[in-house]
């Protein structure tokens, strides 16, 4: 066997890390109408109930996460995780980097199929007074507060690509949206969001670990 002569480095990248620049973008003559950030450091597991196993999956969810599995388009704040509806009898378990996959495996063994998507998605946070105006340029959904309240969620499309969108707790009286997009599509969408939001002024926060 050949002696290894070089050290391998396993520097991680995120879907946006190679183009990400925190700071102001677009119009600067007024306060930023938008705040956006890439959210990192999460684990994401797709949970799909097996046939005839939705009740069991829901029960297991209550036991493991202290909350019902989402059965309609919304996001559920559970113990150590956010449960985001993604389709009939299926949802995503979003949790801080750690033992998320292992925990889901233990919880749903035999009743649901799991696929890890921690690397398959980029998670964006969009907030600010103009966040709905920005999203209106890329998203066909009605995000009026009466229609899309806090913790509403949707599986929809942006630029013909599937995304998961939900609204989390308001901050400073403004709505906060989260957007999960395919990792390989993230740069393209990021540019589109920056172009579309430029007229409002965009404050890009440093990338931060996701928190429910």
């Amino acid at each position: 066997m050949v002696e290894l002569s070089v050290e391998l480095s396993w520097a991680e990248t995120t879907p946006l890390s190679r183009i990400y620049a925190a700071g102001r973008q677009g119009a600067k003559e007024h306060d930023a109408g938008l705040t956006m950030a890439e959210q990192t450091g999460f684990e994401l597991v797709q949970v799909m109930a097996r046939r005839g196993q939705w009740s069991a999956t829901d029960q297991a969810c209550k036991e493991a996460y202290g909350a019902s599995a989402p059965a309609k388009p919304h996001a559920v704040v559970a113990q150590g995780a956010l449960l985001v509806w993604s389709g009939p009898d299926q949802f995503l378990v979003l949790s801080p980097r750690g033992d998320g996959l292992e925990r889901a495996r233990l919880a749903f063994a035999g009743m649901a199929s799991l696929s890890e998507q921690s690397d398959g998605r980029s998670l964006l946070r969009i907030s600010g007074a103009r966040s709905r105006d920005l999203l209106a340029k890329v998203c066909s959904l009605d995000l009026h507060p009466a229609v899309f309240p806090q913790w509403a969620a949707a599986a929809t499309s942006i630029d013909h690509t599937s995304v998961n969108l939900w609204r989390s707790t308001d901050r400073d009286g403004e709505a906060v949206f989260h957007l999960l997009v395919f990792a390989t599509f993230a740069e393209s969408l990021w540019h589109t969001l920056l172009d579309s939001g430029a007229e409002y002024g965009v404050a890009i926060d440093a990338p931060g670990a996701w928190q429910a």
């Binding site: 799909m48 109930a49 097996r50 046939r51 005839g52 196993q53 939705w54 999956t57 309609k72 388009p73 993604s86 389709g87 009939p88 009898d89 299926q90 066909s140 959904l141 949707a154 599986a155 929809t156 499309s157 013909h160 599937s162």
Partner: protein, 91 residues
């Protein structure tokens, strides 16, 4: 056009793909070539109400049965197909 997905709610048609008439059923494996020929190629061309298959690929990825008037585009009902979601389906 907008289709009210039974899971997601009303969505614009860009989120959906159209397949066509929901009536043809895949024949049994031993049904013979003629039956498969009918299944693959023969379609009614209905001007009026028909049941169609649509795929909500831009949303929840469910296949849906949509009863629609092909002339006016009026939609009467939208239902999931048997295998959407996780309910058990008898073979």
């Amino acid at each position: 056009m907008r289709i009210a997905c039974p899971f997601c709610g009303p969505r614009e048609n860009g989120e959906f793909s159209y397949l066509g008439d929901a009536k043809p059923k895949r024949p049994a494996p031993d049904a013979g070539q003629d039956a498969f020929y009918d299944y693959v190629y023969l379609r009614d061309n209905v001007a009026g109400e028909m049941e169609e298959l649509w795929y909500h690929g831009g949303g929840c990825r469910s296949w849906l049965k949509v009863r629609r008037n092909t002339v006016t585009h009026e939609i009467f009902s939208v239902e999931p197909v048997a295998g959407a979601g996780a309910q058990k389906v008898a073979s």
